[in-house]
């Protein structure tokens, strides 16, 4: 059996009295496009920060490519690429200088870093303003640059925290194409996003975190089957028809699965009658 690309056991993070992430056991197989979902404040960013070394875990362990992150942090960091929440950009460098810098921080030689910088800038359509400082880039351009920096060393695992937030449709298409190409070449991608349509289209496997606890994990089909089985059981138990069930042959969307798992529902009962 393959060593999981990412595995956590009892991962917990406390901020004083608040338990942001509690006893999370994750397993991501190599080559998976893994979506990590959860409502606001569920613990997604805290988890991804712990997995990438930006935050220390209060307890539990993290293995990346079979290596313990706490004991082999440098070796693990060499194998992973990260687009964190804040994008980790240096505002007063140009895009080319930044990519060159990141490449060399990951141990690339000058020539390779320069060559990959040129290719990435071209691919991400960032080569048009070579003198512009990163601080003057639009949000979408900064996102593309952060992603370019995360892949410049050819990581085996890529961690992306909300990579499509504030990115236009064209840039989003470019990013998706690149990510799918990486998956085709055997890389593992761990992604958090609020855009469920994108996650549904890209990710083969998912995990859902809610109030700091992992409440579901598996392939999209497994999650769907689980939710449908639960709904069916509830129907049988309550002898009710209609609500909660799906029509025969109709598949639940990821949004529906997500809402049923985290127990969210739109409040249609409370109407804002004064709205036009």
């Amino acid at each position: 059996m393959d060593v999981p690309a990412i595995a956590t056991q009892g991962l917990t993070r406390r901020f004083g009295e608040l338990v942001a992430v509690q006893d999370v056991n994750l397993s991501v197989a190599p080559g998976q496009f893994f979506g990590f979902l959860g409502p606001n404040g569920a613990g997604k960013s805290t988890t991804i920060k712990m997995l990438t070394g930006l935050l220390a875990a209060s307890s539990g362990s993290i293995q990346v490519l079979g290596l313990d992150l706490a004991k082999n942090s440098v070796e693990v960091k060499r194998q992973i690429g990260v687009v964190p929440e804040g994008m980790a950009l240096f505002g007063r460098l140009t895009g080319a200088e930044y990519l060159n810098f990141v490449g060399r921080m990951y141990g690339l030689d000058r020539e390779t870093a320069g060559k990959r910088t040129a290719e990435l800038l071209d691919f991400m359509q960032l080569a048009e303003q070579p003198r512009a400082l990163v601080t003057d880039y639009s949000h979408g351009m900064q996102k593309k640059l952060a992603l370019a920096a995360a892949v410049i060393h050819g990581p085996r695992i890529l961690f992306l925290d909300e990579p499509f937030e504030g990115v236009d449709a064209i840039a989003s298409g470019t990013l998706k194409a690149m990510l799918q190409r990486m998956i085709a070449r055997g890389a593992t991608i761990f992604l958090t996003s609020h855009v469920l349509e994108i996650v549904e289209r890209l990710c083969s496997h998912l995990a859902i975190i809610h109030k700091g606890r992992l409440v579901a994990q598996g392939s999209l089909e497994e999650l769907r089957a689980g939710v449908e089985a639960q709904a069916a059981a509830a129907l049988v138990g309550a002898h009710l028809g209609g609500s909660g069930a799906t029509a025969p042959g109709e598949k639940l969307t990821l949004e529906e699965i997500f809402l049923r798992i985290v127990g969210g529902s739109r409040r249609s009962d409370q109407e804002l009658s004064w709205l036009g």
Binding site: M87, F90, N100, R104, T117, E128, T135, S138, M141
Partner: protein
Amino acid sequence: MAGLILSPGMRGQFAAIARVRWQLFINRVRTIRGRLEVVARGLMFLGFAAAGLGGSITLGGLAWLFVSRGRLPWLAILLWFVFLFWQLFPVMATAFGETVDSSSLLRFPLSFPSYFLVRLAYGALEPSTFMGSIWLFGFAVGIGIADSRYFLWAAIVLLTFAIFNILLARMIFAWVERWLAQRRTREILGVVFFIFIICFQFIGPLVSRIGRSGHPEVPRIATQLLPYERALPPGLAAAAISLAVQGAFAPALGAFALECIYALAVLWLLSVRLRAQYHGENLGEAVARSTAPKEKRAIRLGWKVSGIPGPVAAILEKEFHYLSRSGPMLFTFVMPVVILLIFRLGPQTSAKQGNFLAHASDLAFPIGAAYALLILTNLVYNCFGADAVGMQLFFVSPVSFREILLGKNLAHALVLACEIVAVWIAVCFMFHPPGVDVTFATVTGVAFALLLNLTAGNLLSIYTPKKIDYGALGKQRASTTTVLASLGIQAAVFGLAAVTLLVARAFGRVWIAAVIFLILAGLASIGYVLVLNRADRIALDRRDTILAELCRA
């Protein structure tokens, strides 16, 4: 102006704005820090009130003196003083802080007159307005006491002058705000401000020189400038009052009319600026997509520094890019040479009259070098401050903090080395070449002080980082803890240096100081290596705090 009559809707909006500002104030005092700030502001208000009252009494007294003694042309000097304070103080006090984003108001359905009034009211209660108004009131009272017939006229003229000042201050602020909204213009303004500050330093020495030489050109130039002074608002306000006192009512009315025209012109300029804001001018900083055909530019490879590992060289290069793109930083680095120049330009007749370097020029190089080191501590003690969110990269990349700090320290040491060379050359030209023993003792002393500062700086950069922006002036200080610790280290360094120099002097050999400094540098280097080797563990243990401080918006 019909739109300026407050409709019930406008009154409601003003009430809402006043209420939200009050609520913001109340929310602020909920925290201890907020309460301390309110107390500090209260103390500042008392200071301003005292200065306002004192100035008012002084100006009133002088106005009374000038009118009663018939020295009417002197009134203009007082009004020029009020004018300069009123206009310069708010720019100096607020120009380099964060400004109110007008777009936060524009999202509401505010009419232009409402917007105009709100913008006029924002900041109209600044200390300069408060103090300037009290001063002018005292001025009018002084004239009234000297001759009560002219009190009303003086009050009208001075009220117009006050309105002109308020409008002009708001107009200048509106333009400054526009320039501060964009990084490039903000940095240009920063550089202009810095040049202004540097030029200001030269006023004392130059005035002293001109005064001593009894320059015959000065009175002639002053006489030539007088007609221009009389054509400007402070001169016009003074003329309107003094001409009336002399019985020349028609010319007084003319001067007053011109003053009113100035006020209207400023009002118009202010409305032009505010109208542009109101119509949603685009001050976005995002680079525009180029429409020109794509030009393939070769990517410049990173620096190759022999004997230094790639990541350390990359950090070194990044630090130099950051420093070279910071106008304020570059200007800071020329300050040691500027200080030497100021000393050089000062009067040189007597050792008791300030310019001691003219008589102890051997000290010029050590003083210049020490000043260069002091300036550098600003960088050394908060070396991650400018990295902001980029700090995340240091934590996710496979590079140890030992290497990261080494790269940064190397950059700072190279900057200091360049400055020391520049200071040495400047001393050679301005005074005389320092002796070999003095040069060697200074360089070893700086090496010791640098190593000690880098050791402490590395620790404090990890323990108490503070986000700063190299591109901006003001509010760029390190944390209070860092500042205090830095002061302690400097005191220790200067204390040790003083003892070393005393020992060398007792033996009559400067070389002894160099040897002692070398030994001290050796000891400091042990501490430096120890800290460097533990930097990774300390940084990882404190990563939550570091990232929370540096990555905040």
